[in-house]
Amino acid sequence: MAQGTLDFSPPKTTWIDQVRYYMPTILIAIIVLGLWELLVWMFNIQQFLLPKPSAIIIEVVRETYLATSGESILFQAAGATAWSAVGGFVVGSTLGILVALMTARWTIVSEALLPLAIAANSVPIIAFAPIMNNWFGLTNPASKIAIVSIIVFFPVMINTVRGLTLVDPMQLELMRSYAAKPFKILFALRIPNALPFVFSALRVTSSLSVIGAVVGEFFGGPRATLGVLITQEASGFNFARAWAAISMAALIGISFYLLVLLAERRLMPWHSSLRESA
């Protein structure tokens, strides 16, 4: 390698490259929706079995129009569910990271807690949703935030502990050679080392938190929440509206995941998954 002649800047990407990159995905999505529309029309499938995509889209557009005057229950519901999911995500991941930091400081605690946490993580925590509804009250958003927090807590905590403890022994010896204090080792080595682990947990739990919020609402909640809206509209045979609510939940889940991904790229520009361009 000749020194100074290397160009490490990532190759320039224009919007045309971007379109070219996502084109196959977009095309497949359009084809699937088209086939769906066509099949429902061809076999004359009843709308309570499967509504046409166009009917769902019309419903969403209609609600969007209502939303401008603040009368859209669909958008109110989406907002409420999104807040439950985000609230639970923030509370759960903050607690998970804090507990992990504490247990990593006292290895004995982490060794005692980790098996329990791993066991708890394999429990279908969503089954506790009715209990949380009783504890905090059916219409209190805290009941949904609580169930989402518990769902988010365990994967985040387990992964953070792993990231804090799975440090290259040579890196630790380097710190020892500098006679570095444990506190300094934590901040200069263990925490940056844990970041990729933490983010892989956050990516998974960002989707889980939306699932948690919606399923929590299936067991009851205020009318303007997606879970309640889906069950009500489905039992009232307004399937296009139920599907519109499902699409909103999907949209929230996807945007939430993308936000976490964006934060990851911002915070960890060094991470290997982002190096392909070099």
């Binding site: 890196q171 020892r176 940056p192 290997s272």
Partner: protein
């Protein structure tokens, strides 16, 4: 030849002793196995400004000896003094810089920030950190890459950053554990040249673990030949190949002579097993 060896050893003996090992033993006792004697009765004096290579096959205890000096492990028996202190005290005083087999750079830090790491830990001011780190990058000729990240550098460049980092706080001793073992032959020879240049400019005492005979002969002022089972020093050879050494040095008769001597010693030790 005898004469030059004499004067060389006299001149180095006049310099203060940096490392003094007396009757050093290191025994590992794995729980499921019988005890392994990694080092047996090691006696060695290293003087200020020397370039010492520890050479021998795997299991001869060369890395263990280095780790004892670095206080990364403790001796089972015997005395070891580093700068007239216990290795523990010397480590707390940051008397040595260490370069490992791998560059062990932090992925999340730029090249400059990696060099600043020890300075941060040791509480240097921001201004000192910047000045020293830039100086060190200049020393290893990587100034242009200050703002790059480790993964953007080749293996040889990464190891040079690691050397800059080890020298940043001006330790009096540089400990190197097979630092160029993972590099290709060409890069390795260039790195050897670079290391000699740094050694000559800084006057630092270098203790260098290697299993390459030509590397040991090319670099060091004295070569400590070690043999395994149990790990011990077979012989210490004064290396009178004249400094400054350059690419042509590898073609000098004296160089071949020394390489042959070391090779013979290593083979004898091997056959004695």
């Amino acid at each position: 030849m005898d004469v030059t060896v004499e004067t060389k050893s006299v001149s180095s003996a006049a310099k203060p002793v940096v490392i003094a090992a007396r009757g050093l033993f290191k025994v590992f006792t794995p729980s499921d196995n019988e005890a392994v004697t990694a080092l047996q009765n090691v006696n060695l004096d290293i003087h200020a400004g020397e370039f010492i290579s520890l050479i021998g096959p795997s299991g001869c205890g060369k890395s263990t000896l280095l780790r004892l000096i670095a206080d990364l492990t403790t001796a089972s028996q015997g005395d070891l003094m580093v700068n007239g202190k216990s290795p523990h005290k010397a480590r707390l005083d940051r008397d040595y810089g260490m370069v490992f087999q791998a560059a062990t750079l932090y992925d999340w830090r730029s090249v400059l920030q990696n060099v600043q790491l020890p300075l941060e830990i040791m509480g240097y001011s921001k201004k000192d950190r910047d000045n020293r780190a830039h100086q060190m990058l200049e020393l290893v000729e990587l100034s242009k890459f200050a703002n790059h990240f480790p993964w953007q550098l080749s293996g040889g460049m990464q190891q040079r950053v690691s050397i800059a980092r080890a020298l940043a706080f001006e330790p009096s001793i540089l400990l190197m554990d097979e630092p160029f073992g993972a590099l290709d032959e060409f890069t390795r020879e260039r790195m050897n040249m670079e290391l000699l240049r740094i050694w000559e400019r800084t006057g630092i005492t270098v203790i260098f673990v290697t299993h390459s005979i030509s590397e040991a002969v090319f670099l060091s002022s004295r070569i400590v030949v070690m043999s395994p089972r149990p790990g011990r020093i077979t012989q210490v050879i004064d290396n009178d190949v004249p400094y400054p050494r350059a690419f042509e040095t590898r073609e000098m008769p004296q160089f071949f002579e020394k390489v042959t001597i070391v090779r013979e010693l290593l083979r004898e030790a091997h056959e004695a097993l």
